[in-house]
Symmetry: D2
Subunit: 480 residues, 4 copies
């Protein structure tokens, strides 16, 4: 589970979470608020909710956590029967309010609001094409590109416009679209990002993870299919399947780290998959050790699985400070070692003289792992083995996950032996790609595992990289 | 002078102030900040500055006064050689950050930023036409319409695009446009809103009022002509005159109330014009009285003129509390009378037993006038005469000044005698339209005085009224 | 009138304003709020209100203006029938919340709250004496010393305790004291700081200036006498005169600059006294000139008087920006000249080619005067004469007014001729001490004019200076 | 571990955490900041740090978390060689800034700063005695009573004053006292609250829990003894043992719930003690079940112990939302059930059809337990057994822990069977008092377990209850 208060500097970052609801006689603003609360791990940079009352939209969004952005006064002022909400992840430095979603627009046929999770791979090309015809852009977000495409194709129905739009755009996208009287969900043909359908009484919900359905007391119905457009209005739910049989490519990192442990995808529970990854890891990499400890919190499920399979006792050898927040003052150079100990404190009584297996879910840059291994040794651990429940991250993600630049990925430039040396462990073992996929209980070829394998299901543009950084920068300078 | 701390509830509201500068080797962000400071009376709702460094734009804007929106850290982070800044007026209730200006966009040819003072009369019609071609809109501002038009005509040079745009748009507009390497000023063919040119060393400045030039130590060069496009770039200043001899129609209310007393328009100093209005009023409406007092602060110049011409002593009989701010708690019903006394306190020692001429610059709804007259009587004034240095406001403004709805204009529905009764004065006298225009020292037919005369220089659309209120509302619900 | 938005860097600073009310069936919190609003010019650093409901006290105070510190929710939560409120002035750098008043305490006989305007001259000596007996102090304020003395003498009635306390303390003090069921006002034997009594229906009010009575709709009854203790409780108002015939020494600077123009002291209206000072100045210092202009706002009344007496036309040659607030970014060195022009802009059309008499109420350091004279010259004034409606400030004040250190007082170290040279005026004239006192219409020996004459009515301790700076500093380090 | 983001509504509240350091050539402000960060679980209401540089004190404190109260600018402005810091717990409604600690005072011998963890039982009596001699009080805190006593005994050395003070005061107190040149720690004769000594190079540290020593990289030296005064100054550390052999009565709830799992007391590690409590619980209450799940986070260690001893698999069946913060909007009545699910979501795949042992560390009111049991059943658990690793809480604490009023303690008024019915579990079992004490590995008679047994080591005043609520209330109305 992505955790703000965890050592997330060294973890991939989810880009967004979506929650939409269509339902009369419900307080859709409040329900969306709680839905976003449950999805907070998918993005801590900004939060927003747009509401339609059939005639007008209201919108509130801002930088910050859901609980910071909204208060009772704001929520109670937002009346209507359709809502879409969005949380966006936190990057360092370029936190821009203008990029907060949903985005509201007026086009020829009326009002439209859009929330997006994912990343287009041909946004630049489309943006240029639209510009030739006179479109203007206020942001560098993909979402604004999508809205302009919809408007360009907007002489007919919104469904037609969406179908034409989907033909043009490439990449990963789960979308929520709201018009005055419809809630629409779209999932890209490969199904890279998740989106599922729930019901709360007569009301329909579309959201990124099933945990949000549980939270608001709704029932899970099914996942939105790859390439499916789901339209909800007064007549109920209609489905359009836009493409037949593309290769499905659901992001396996949702299972490894990104999703909440209590969510399900394709019928599989995340924490149970993680525990099975731990068991699989124990089968692949048995170690002679006295105790198994997790790197809290994201390594807990896999560590429990490792302990279960190996029979080695599970202990909480690293204690996490639950109050590490975002405004934390970084220690000066000479108190550098305090930085990690503020978050995780090793317990001597548990570790001293022990051969320790430490289980983590993934390693990106390796810096935190190195500090933790050192800390365990200083506290008296006799031997330290680092076991990782996902394979080495070798390639960047172009579909909406921020894995750092490739040159920061330790596994992309160093051998296993070199990494072990760097980290200072007595042993370093990753789960195999096959083992990880097998642990999901789903067909291996239904996943995108490009960050591990380099096998990209959707073509990557030559330019690669993030055009938004090279192109105009900082979203044309907005820091509203 | 428009004064936040004055009794401005009963005054017309200016819509915006503009300040732009093109100059290498200058801190253009700081200079623009001080320029906007000098124009704060033209708008207290929001403030913003956009900067170009030749390649990228930076932008900062927010709700609030200039001094609240900016701090040293923000300003010092904004580097470049071109800047445009904007202040926007404050309305009650619908203060929307999304409407803050400048607006930054990317179009086919690059980046563009726009700041606008005025009001288009055919924005709805153009918006619809653009929508048919696929344009989307995030706000209901005229400024977004103008930017989309520019983009639609944007295959060639920016000058061409602007010239085509000017043919399409009707209404009052002074514009500042910034591209990566140019600062452009545009004034509508009737010259309704002001715009002038200054120089600070080698740098050019375009701004709404000359007081902003004084403040930053720049020299006044000349007013921008009605219908003129002024282009400033590395080659210096170029001028394009787009139309020959339209009827000039400069807003006379700038002289009456809106502009700062230390600004000049068409070579005439505002405070001197106001003083002359007071003298003219004394000639037109001589009163037997003991003292002349102003309604502070906006009636001071006219009251001094009245006293000078009439020979009646000038006294400050109403003392203003200089600390009345925006967050003031309104008194409850039974302390209603406190509301005015918090702002203006009558001085018994000056007023008791006196026949008082009270001079104000304008009356819109009359509610404050009524309270002031009552207060003077309660303090012992024997007789109270209200003299107004502008004619009755009978018609709404469609060119960017908020004069309230017509049914709130007391003079639109009531005779002079009825107003006198309502206000409770022993006498009520307005200056004549001719007298007011004469006092400016400029040709009477060079002004727009439609709010007094109903003679609109620019055609008003059938729909009239503010489409933005009828059309989607609250700018599609943004309250970012 | 002290004006936050004026050029007050170069003016003495008032220390505090007081407002107390005793009245059943009134919203005493709201009335006190409006009363403090009217006294905001006496202190902009902090504001506070304490309320008694007969059993308990509630208290709210904080740094900031009255309108910033309070909101409707806070005020409506403060219920009771007695209230005392306080505003405190703003110094640079050492703005400390712990010094905000009123101060609430529990002593042997119950609860007590205190608000103080003035300065003790023997606070250090008493503090030491109390410390020997075990008193502890959280602040260096005189107010805490007074409260501890009251508690030390607190075995009997509060009146007895106050009478004993008054024998011990020396200096200037107007006090408001609240117990569970009494509102008490105390004025020092010399009556240095003002305090007056008003009635609002059956309710009694005690406040620093009569303008606060006007504002809340109360009637002025009388000034509290020097050395008088006024006790208000359910039996009505009782008076105790603690001393017979000390030399009265009311601060003349209240008339010159500190008080609001619409307040009265000893039956004299402040703005009329200032106008008479202007007339007297014209009699003492006649100048051949074309126009008289004030330094706004505090010089206006005297300038009007000068113009009236001299027959020279009164013009507003310096235009003040009404939006200069506290968060203003100071211009960098090379834009230094902007600093003054942001606040005051000279109008060329009025000044050019003229011989100008500029009237100010007082000069402390002379720096602003110098800048203004220079600015007038640059704008084309032919001759500039600076006339001041108070004598040279030669001595520091030990009774509660911050006049800067003596070595910053330009008149304390330089001859009139030297000051004229420094300021760059063609002529510099101060009113005479006798002339100023005569203009008040009151006996000259009833004033403290020590800052002009050095004749201190109350002995100054040898140490002089501000012990609070030498003694522990920064109030023992509070910056809550 | 006390956890802000946990279901702490139903848990006892720790009152305070202390951290003090004496050390030249160290950044004592920063180290104290990190020390308080590690102690944040002991209090989330307010935080404060006082620093001595040998001559003066600086102090910063405010409502909020450590990371909210301090920033780099504040910390870097606080220079000196001695610091004491304090965190205070959060109650609902009466969060008062005036009660934030440390408290700084000046007394006869100089400056003194005080931070206190615990609760006096005779504060009222002493406060009255001091009042007779003229003391005044600004708060109802025990800390202010202690400071006044020290000042009253303050003619000699601070050690003498403290020794006399300790004779007077009864109750639980761990104190940090700072003078200009000394850091002093005091622990009450029964040692109810913890306090320990650490070293960081040459610098000495006194703090509530050893985890704070780990965090700043210091070594644990020893606990401060009950009744010991520890004086640290330039000569090093001196110890005064004030009483011989009182009954030691360390709060056993520190082991059960309050302290951080990675702290040690009397040489015992907290998380290991908790795990042993879980094992003991398994021995005392064996259950036929399929899985053991904890109530996160505080029940985790005991649940692991239970699982280990019983051999039943440990699963994380309740998933905690890590983003539940303090500004959370409470669901309306009809969405009541959302409130718990927002914090804890049961995982169907783990629970369905299972016999579940749910382990919690303590039950106070039982409301949350009831909701959790219901939630597990709704999710498909076949049987639910609630096992508690501490005995029933029958009595309130008078020594500084907020356990709610006695009439809210479910165990004080209901039989085990009734509680089981109320909670709706198939079984409810508490550990025995003997079992819990045995699990600590320390002599049972060295603890205070009064909340379980009613056996109060320190006499409780007749009045009992919280005088501060009855006596003047709201700390004399401060809400600064």
């Amino acid at each position: 589970m992505a955790d703000l208060y965890d050592l997330t500097d060294d973890k991939p970052k989810e880009e967004c979470g979506l929650f939409g609801i269509y339902g009369h006689a419900l307080d859709v603003a409040n329900i969306t608020y709680y839905g976003l609360y449950a999805l907070q791990h998918r993005g801590q940079e900004s939060a927003g909710i747009a509401i339609s009352n059939g005639h007008r939209f209201s919108l509130h969004k801002n930088m910050g956590l859901v609980a910071e952005v909204f208060n009772e006064e704001i929520l109670s002022s937002m009346k209507g029967h359709i809502a879409i909400g969005h949380v966006r992840y936190s990057t360092t430095g370029s936190s821009l309010a203008v990029n907060a979603q949903p985005l509201n627009f007026r086009y020829l046929k009326g009002l439209i609001s859009l929330a997006h999770n994912g990343n287009l791979t041909n946004a630049n090309e489309i943006r240029h094409r639209l510009g030739v015809n006179g479109s203007v852009f206020q942001t560098t977000t993909d979402s604004e590109v999508i809205v302009n495409l919809i408007a360009r194709y907007g002489q007919g129905s919104i469904e037609e416009a969406l179908m034409k739009t989907i033909i043009d755009i490439k990449g990963a996208y789960s979308l929520l679209v709201m018009t005055e009287n419809q809630l629409i969900g779209v999932r890209d043909p490969h199904g890279v990002r998740p989106l599922c359908i729930g019901k709360l009484g007569d009301a329909y919900i579309l959201t990124s993870e099933s945990c949000a359905l549980d939270t608001v007391g709704a029932d899970f119905i099914r996942d939105v299919e790859p390439g499916e457009i789901v339209i909800i209005n007064e007549k109920g739910l209609t489905s359009i399947l836009t493409r037949k049989n593309p290769r499905q490519a659901f992001c396996v990192f949702e299972f490894v780290y990104l999703a909440r442990p209590d969510s399900n995808f394709a019928g599989k529970n995340v924490t149970q998959v993680r525990r099975e990854m731990g068991r699989q890891l124990a089968r692949e990499c048995p170690i002679e050790a006295d105790i198994v400890i997790p790197v809290p919190d994201s390594g807990i499920a896999a560590a429990l699985g490792y302990a279960e399979e190996s029979g080695i006792p599970y202990m909480e050898g690293l204690m996490k400070n639950r109050y590490i927040g975002r405004t934390f003052i970084q220690p000066h150079q000479k108190m550098r070692e305090i930085a990690v100990r503020l978050k995780l404190n090793p317990i001597r009584e548990i570790l001293e003289g022990k051969r320790v297996v430490m289980v983590d879910d993934s390693i990106v840059r390796g810096t935190t792992s190195r500090q933790l291994v050192q800390m365990l040794r200083n506290t008296g651990a006799k031997e330290v083995y680092l076991l990782v429940s996902s394979p080495p991250v070798n390639y960047p993600c172009y579909y909406g996950i921020d894995t750092s630049e490739r040159n920061q990925l330790i596994a992309a430039k160093h051998s296993l032996e070199e990494i072990k040396e760097y980290i200072g462990a007595d042993g370093l073992h990753y789960i195999s790609l096959e083992g990880m996929l097998k642990a999901t209980g789903l067909p291996g070829d239904s996943f995108c595992a490009a960050c591990f394998s380099g096998d990209y299901a959707i073509p990557i543009p030559e330019e690669t990289g993030k055009y938004s950084i090279e192109d105009g920068g900082e979203d044309y300078g907005y820091h509203l």
